[in-house]
């Protein structure tokens, strides 16, 4: 590992942990927020010049959109939280040598859950007996199932790519297996794990659009209404909001990822 920083696995930007030059080397981070602001501003300007009919005006009430947005964020946050709580410990267990026989099978189950069509899963869960039902809980279970794999796989891969020589050295210094895991393996695996969590988060923001079909609310409500009532103005606005949300969440996760990388170097 070089003294200046760690090389991004994507192969691109060397990240410097030093305070000086941090702004300059991270100036590219400003791009996304600027694009999002310009895009939202353009849509808002366009909407403000249109004469809205009753249906459009009702759908575009700021208070209603804020409620949808809030529900959407809550769904994405809860489901990502549970994905982390479930997939990270499971991934750590799977990365241990003893778990090798079942590793492939468990990852295959994760892949299977991701491959199921989320709409079908949501409706099935919604009709399952309590505590399932047409509620937020059912939606979160569906989202967690769909987004489990990236975190699970990246945790396993992140731990496996740690140099065995480092682990051996740690054990040689007298560290217990647990201390080796907590103080050597996990810190070195964190960048890969965070990349997986970022994928899951963005996946959840996108899939939460389906929540409206089973009474879970969210920004999907606006999209479905605009589509069934054929109001392109509302559809474009809703699409812009979801796109902006996904971009900003991905951006935030990207910032966190970069900070984590810089710290674990």
């Amino acid at each position: 590992m070089s003294a200046g920083g760690v090389l991004d696995p994507a192969g691109a930007v060397p990240v410097r942990p030093q305070r000086r030059g941090w702004l300059r080397s991270n100036a590219d981070l400003l791009g996304t927020p600027i694009i999002v602001l310009l895009g939202l501003g353009a849509v808002a300007l366009w909407v403000s010049t249109r004469k809205l009919d009753d249906i459009e005006a009702r759908a575009l009430q700021p208070s209603a959109i804020l409620v949808d947005l809030g529900q959407h964020l809550v769904l994405a946050a809860y489901s990502t939280f549970f994905v982390i709580v479930i997939a990270v410990p499971l991934g750590i267990l799977l990365s241990r040598r003893r778990a090798r026989p079942v590793r492939g099978a468990v990852l295959a189950v994760g892949g299977f859950a991701q491959a199921l069509p989320p709409y079908g899963v949501l409706v099935l869960i919604a009709f399952a007996p309590p505590p399932f039902g047409f509620n937020r809980f059912a939606v979160i279970v569906g989202l967690v199932a769909a987004a489990l794999l990236p975190v699970l796989r990246n945790t396993v891969v992140g731990l496996q790519q740690v140099d065995p020589a480092l682990i051996e050295a740690a054990r040689g210094m007298g560290m217990s297996a647990r201390a080796t895991l907590l103080r050597v393996e996990l810190p070195l695996a964190v960048p890969v794990m965070v990349a997986g969590i970022r994928v899951a988060l963005v996946l959840n923001v996108g899939t939460a659009v389906l929540a409206t079909f089973v009474g879970g609310g969210g920004l999907g409500s606006l999209i479905v209404r605009a589509q069934t009532l054929n109001r392109p103005l509302v559809l474009v606005t809703a699409g812009a909001i979801v796109a902006a949300l996904a971009l900003m969440i991905d951006w935030l996760a990207g910032v966190v990822e970069r900070l984590v990388r810089a710290r674990t170097t």
Binding site: F134, V214, S221, T228, L229
Partner: protein
Amino acid sequence: MRWTIDGRSGWYASALALVGAVALMLTGCGALNSSGPSAQGGSIAQGPLLQGQSYNVGGKEFDEQKVLCQLTIAALQAAKATANDMCGIVGSVPTRAALTSGAIDLYWEYTGTAWTTHLKQSNPIPDSQQQYLAVKQADAANNIVWLDPTPFENTYALGVKKETADRLGVRTLSDFAKLVNSGSPEATLCVAQEFVGRNDGLPGLEKAYGFQVPTGKLKTLDEGPIYQAVANGNPCNFGEVFTTDGRILALGLTVLTDDKSFFPKFNAAVSIRREAFDRNPDIAKVLNPIAAKLTNDVMINLNKQVSQDGKDPRAVARTWLQQQGFIGS
């Protein structure tokens, strides 16, 4: 620019047409299973024929539309025309886009949907006949011809399980308004997004009957699952339904009486591209007598055979046409 759907307006219409075309491919009801010698004879064969004509018959994805689509195909075949089966396009907007783009030549549309969704009007006309005439007139500008409407009226209603209605003593929408205003925890309502957004949906209903369902008791789901959700009483006891849906019978639901006549009544009619209509206007003489026989009871019964008894819409349509003497056996 003004958004319009008239087949000439830029990328939006093209995009919709593409969606429609993809939907057609995905539903997999291509032209392969369309022709068949079964629809011969009967009263249609004695009337004006459409020899040498070929029509792409479309329809939406739900049971009533499948039946109407198959009725049309069988009738056109009995009149010696070629009818290509393009039934089962998902959604009203893609189906209409398929019509305006020329991917299909005709399909059954409801006057209310045409007025609110396709013609972008906010307020429906209370009288069903006036509503039909207004749609027919407005759509002439889009080069779409409307044949005669059905007597059956498909309209919004609130449905509830029979036992729940008895237990709560709710028979009419006024009773429901009273129940909501009493703050009863039983007054839960399931609706779809379209119903929430339309003037003749929930906003107008609440105003007409003087109630407001609190947000915690209002669930917005997809239209399909609402029937089962109401039958289960979970998550709601009441739900938005369509009056001719076969699942009302199948699941033992009852429809609340609209005692203030709030919900506008909408008929269905064949909407056909003018170019396809002008090729042989006798198509009206083939299809209008069928529309005239489609009363509420007939339509509910046909829908039930598909929704509850699991019969093939094609078989249901042909059997009914034979019983009515439109086609021979």
